[in-house]
């Protein structure tokens, strides 16, 4: 049977996952966080949390997706059981809901690339605020670029894994090149005033600041949000892994690549801002989109090299930014589409429907509540509210993954005790239960790096503590510093978040029983070891392999088999 869809090679998967992980968060959130949190001091906790939070979660995601061979819904259905399929739906929804407005943000970056190459950001009398405001306040323009982003994304994923792979390889390599070019120019700028103070600041450690909890919390948030850990991206791409792929090495590569890009982008942004700004830290810590679309064009306009420097800098940087945004967009759409395909829907139709939904549900964020802040800079408040609501929801996707692992360990140990294969008691649980997921799905023999006990400790102890710290500190801050925080009508409050979450979670819980009545089809490459007999999904009589004929659902399998066969 040649019905499964998979990546050609390991680097394809790596590039796709790196593309998913690297987004605007690396290029415009990271420099702001470094600026606001003591420069080089921030890098220490940020690196620690890469290994304590992001990579362990990504390992888990790859391992789950590689075994379940389905998207997020199927993965939770197989790993956590039928009753928990809604967790996968939640994960998919959060990612898609973010995609609704992320397409618009990606559109901004393309617009700025266009402005960069047409010289709309350089020259006498260009007021970057005016450029930004007139763009944002022009719904036609914003929608046009949103539309372009969606078209490009759909084109990239229309044909499935191999196309995704190719696009990501090309975009990621170009991104590296473009960012290095920007970095070179900005270091040159920073060096011209004789000090390299941007780079110095970014790599200077103030030991006192290491005792500030604030810095650690911010570093954790940066690591958690920027690396896409726990968001279901790795689950989705793992579906296309070849049979003997090393999940652990992939996770390390993806995490390290993500942070590598952050460092390059951070250095480029900080150096150029420190080179020309009188109070660089105030500039860097200004509202996020403000740095990118207001401060940076001003800074880049002063790049050395006559008219070539600013041109290269401006066009190169925004092209890199739009590549980063596009590759993230691709993974977002693929995450959604994969779930449709798993449930027997035709891929092309799924892609089209997802694209249409992205466009339509994104429109309000593109045109509604475009306001001016106190400094007269336009910002899209509806989009911001969407980000406020769904951004925090991402953390719960991560929690669901951890929950699944905890649950599996406990159930597996209980079963082994019942079968007389494992000792009972707490010691038995520590010995067999806690390591069950790792033993069964991570250390499968395909991996060069064998994952040790450290992973259990991180997942069972560090993760719940860090998750709690993150949630308590963020929501605590929100409660303490927001007026009228419980009023669901307050776009900055907690009430609106809980209201939306409540509605979504309740309707998903309700949908769960319909969801599990449908058969689900696993995308299994030939010869892959995908035994799920120890998992709840092993007892699920509606889990099938792609291409199988399911009584009552023959139309699904046949249609799909034809399509998938063509694809490969």
């Amino acid at each position: 049977m040649a019905q499964s869809d998979q990546f050609n090679g390991r680097l394809g998967l790596i590039f796709a996952s790196i593309g998913a992980a690297i987004g605007t968060g690396n290029i415009w959130r990271f420099p702001r966080m470094v600026g606001a949190n003591g420069g080089g001091t921030f890098l220490i906790p940020w690196l620690i949390f890469l290994f304590a939070w992001s990579i362990p979660l990504v390992i888990a995601e790859f391992a789950m997706g590689k075994r379940s061979r389905t998207g997020t819904i199927g993965t939770f259905r197989i790993f956590a059981g039928k009753r928990f399929a809604w967790m996968g739906l939640w994960t998919a929804w959060i990612s898609t809901a973010i995609g609704f407005y992320y397409a618009i943000v990606a559109g901004w970056t393309i617009k700025y690339f266009q402005l960069g190459i047409t010289g709309g950001l350089t020259g006498e009398g260009v007021d970057t605020t005016e450029v930004w405001n007139s763009f944002l306040q022009n719904p036609g323009q914003v929608i046009f670029f949103q539309f372009i982003v969606i078209c490009l994304t759909l084109a990239a994923i229309w044909k499935g894994a191999k196309a995704i792979e190719k696009v990501n390889v090309v975009l990621m390599i170009s991104l590296f090149v473009l960012l290095f070019m920007s970095l070179f120019l900005s270091l040159w700028m920073d060096f011209e005033d004789g000090t390299l103070d941007g780079a110095t600041f970014m790599f200077s450690v103030d030991p006192d600041l290491l005792f500030e909890p604030e810095i650690w919390i911010n570093a954790l948030s940066q690591s958690a949000w920027s690396c896409s850990a726990g968001m279901g991206m790795a689950i989705t791409y793992a579906v296309y892994m070849r049979k003997d792929e090393d999940t652990v090495l992939n996770a390390f590569t993806m995490g390290l690549a993500n942070n590598s890009i952050s460092i390059i982008a951070g250095l480029a942004v900080l150096s150029s801002i420190f080179a020309v700004s009188s109070d660089p830290l105030a500039t860097v810590t200004g509202g996020s989109s403000a740095i990118t679309f207001l401060a940076l064009p001003e800074v880049f306009a002063q790049a050395p090299g006559g008219s070539i420097g600013p041109f290269v800098m401006m066009a190169g940087f925004f092209l890199a930014l739009s590549f980063a945004a596009l590759t993230s967009m691709i993974s977002t759409v693929e995450l959604c589409v994969r779930n449709f395909v798993d449930h027997g829907y035709n891929r092309e139709r799924s892609v089209a429907i997802t694209g249409l939904a992205l466009f339509i549900f994104g429109l309000p964020s593109a045109v509604m509540w475009i306001k001016l802040d106190s400094a007269g800079v336009a910002f899209p408040e509806f989009l911001e509210v969407q980000d406020h609501i769904w951004g925090y929801g991402l953390m719960f996707s991560g929690l669901f993954i951890a929950f699944t692992i905890w649950k599996y360990g406990y159930v597996r140990w209980k079963a082994q005790v019942a079968a007389g294969e494992a000792p009972g008691g707490f010691k038995g649980y520590l010995g067999v239960g806690v390591s069950a997921f790792r033993d069964d799905f991570i250390n499968t023999g395909d991996n060069d790096i064998v994952v040790g006990r450290w992973w259990d400790i991180l997942l069972y102890i560090a993760f719940p503590i860090l998750f709690t710290v993150l949630m308590v500190s963020y929501f605590g801050d929100m409660i303490a510093n927001t007026d009228d925080v419980w009023n669901p009508g307050n776009p900055k409050g907690l009430g609106i978040i809980l209201a939306f979450w409540g509605v979504v979670a309740i309707s998903f819980l309700f949908l769960n029983k319909y969801l599990i009545q449908r058969p689900i089809f696993r995308n299994i490459p030939e010869g892959a070891e995908v035994d799920i007999s120890t998992l709840p999904g092993g007892d699920d009589d509606r889990v099938f392999e792609l291409g199988e004929l399911v009584p009552g659902f023959e139309h699904l399998a046949s249609e799909d088999a034809v399509f998938e066969a063509e694809a490969v």
């Binding site: 080089g40 690196l47 390290l256 105030a282 810590t285 200004g286």
Partner: protein
Amino acid sequence: MTPMVASSLAQDEPSGLEPTDIWSEDYSNEIFPWAPESDRDRQFKEYHTYETTKALMLQLEQENPDIFEFHEGLLGGVNARGETVTADTYEGWYYGYSSPWMKITGDVQNGEYNEFVGDNGNYADRHDVMIVGNHHAREWMSYTVALMQLEVIAFSYNNIGYDNDGDGLVDEDPWGDANNDGILDDDGDCLALATSPTNYQDSNGDGTNCGPGDLGVDEDYSEQFITDLINTREIYLIPMLNVDGNIYDREVFCPAPAWESCPSGGWRKNLRNNGPDLLPDFNEEVDEDCDGVDLNRNYQFEWGAPLGATVPLIPGTCTPSEDEQAGIANNDVYTGPYDTQDNDGDGLINEDNVDGEDDDNDGRTDEDWAGGNSEPETRFIQDLTEMNDDVGNGASEFKSTLTHHSYSELILYPWGHCTDCETTDHDQLVYHGDKLAEMTDYTNMQSSDLYPTTGDFCDWHYGVHGSYCYTSEIGTAFHQHEDDIDHIAVRNLGTGFYMAEIADNPRERADLGIANISQNQFIQMPDMVNIPSIGSIPVDMCVANGFAYSLEKSVSHVMYRTVQPTRLQSDYGPKEWSTTEWSMAMFEETTSTCNLLNGENGTVIRSNLPVEDTVSGQVHYKAMLGTLGGGDLYLYPANGEYYVLEVDYRADYGTLFGALFMFFLVTSFVWGGLAICLRMMLVDENEKEFSEAVLEDGD
């Protein structure tokens, strides 16, 4: 188009702004933020009754247990005069309710507990103020204003920076003429309104444009100021003293609507039974001719004098009235019965009336009085005053007191009992009275210049306890039409807060105010502050040489906080700030001199704000000064506002060497790690196939 049409159109065009152009919809329609629009009495569109007053107070106590403690009457015990009394002592004669009141102060459940009064939250270093409404039953605005003050306190406490009028600015127009330019509308928003075809500047219709009570005048007071006030004062707010009379007036005497049934009169007194039978006599109907005592003639200071003023010809007697509802009353100011007891047990009666003097030369003062203090309500006030002794010196803690009455748009200060006489604090009383009159646009005058009275609240408070006491005569009718409740209450809202503010040392405040001292002191504006390249930021305050400032940190200090980017900063929105808690930095004396705002010489005191060098953002600062005389809460800038100082990052960016070291460490870790991972992948045999595949693809 003909010219005629054009001119008529032009007339219809407003020549300025409409309220909704400036303010929120709610504020423009006088919808208050503390209750839903449909809640008519809490919106001050209807009068509260006794029942709703009590229910509201209980509700507010429940919602704000940190600052409110609800009481009715007092618990009793042995009072300051050695009498043993119980809680029953303070229950009204007729309906049997004690006056409801609220103890208001920050962290009210702590502080000392007063066994006699029954209240918590007694702090030796907090200044006490008493505010009483509704001595006279029919004066409905007098308790309404007190209830609005209660609502405002509940809403404003710790609700810093609330935008009361929804114009996007906060705290821009406090009570009174804050900037001394002679215009109450400090922010000029009312004055920007159109005057034709609709005169929006006179929204309350009293004939004065942009006067107090008009929309946009004194409408955005500082919640910080109110919070500071509640945290440094104990407010005893007694909105409805005369519960008996109030219920009778509403339910029996003046059938609703009262402003129609009693256009110029109403029930004034309490419901003491003046005969023929002795109390208790619950079955007896109220004898409207003779029953009741005028509570504001029942206090003991100079009780019974002057004969023939607005008292019955002979104190303690009743002359039946002719037409009470029309306001023709001969017995409305009945002072209560003569005291026939030998209060001191020396065999003589009434030989030393309450007047602050030892009339009988026996070495004791005011020990055998002629009358007064005979009513449950006045006994409540007198015992509360005499038993509220936080510092244990036997004297009343109330240095300022205010009683609301109606009507005639006046502010009255003592004396009331004598004509052509002045108190020893006359100039000071006039000073504060002028301030109260300024914020209400009322007339300030000595009480007895209106008409002489005997045994009134303020004469007693000032005469016996030295408290600066004012009587506000609110509005233009006893039963003001209900359409007028909201704006009249707003117009009088500031007086209660002003009295609370001056409760620390009203005499000193007046002296400093008269000499223009406190107003001419200032703390450095942000553009004058020199931020050093490293270390604490010094902020100077210029104080007058005649100002006996205290260096005690608790009363004299600079409050500062930093404002930095928040971790909640959205990735797509404008810059968001997170504000730290206020911290306190003390003042130090210096030898430098400075010029006060009036050009005279002053002395510099300095506070060094320990702001970290790594702070990039804003520093907010404000000062409070206290005096050696116990005054405090002299705020700079005024009204709980603060200055905003922009501070750049001042610390080093680091050393090149250290940065290089860190750079190599981080990059070898991250980039090196990545390289190792990629290498491990590439040596994997399968990858050779991949590269072949790519090559093939390329073909």
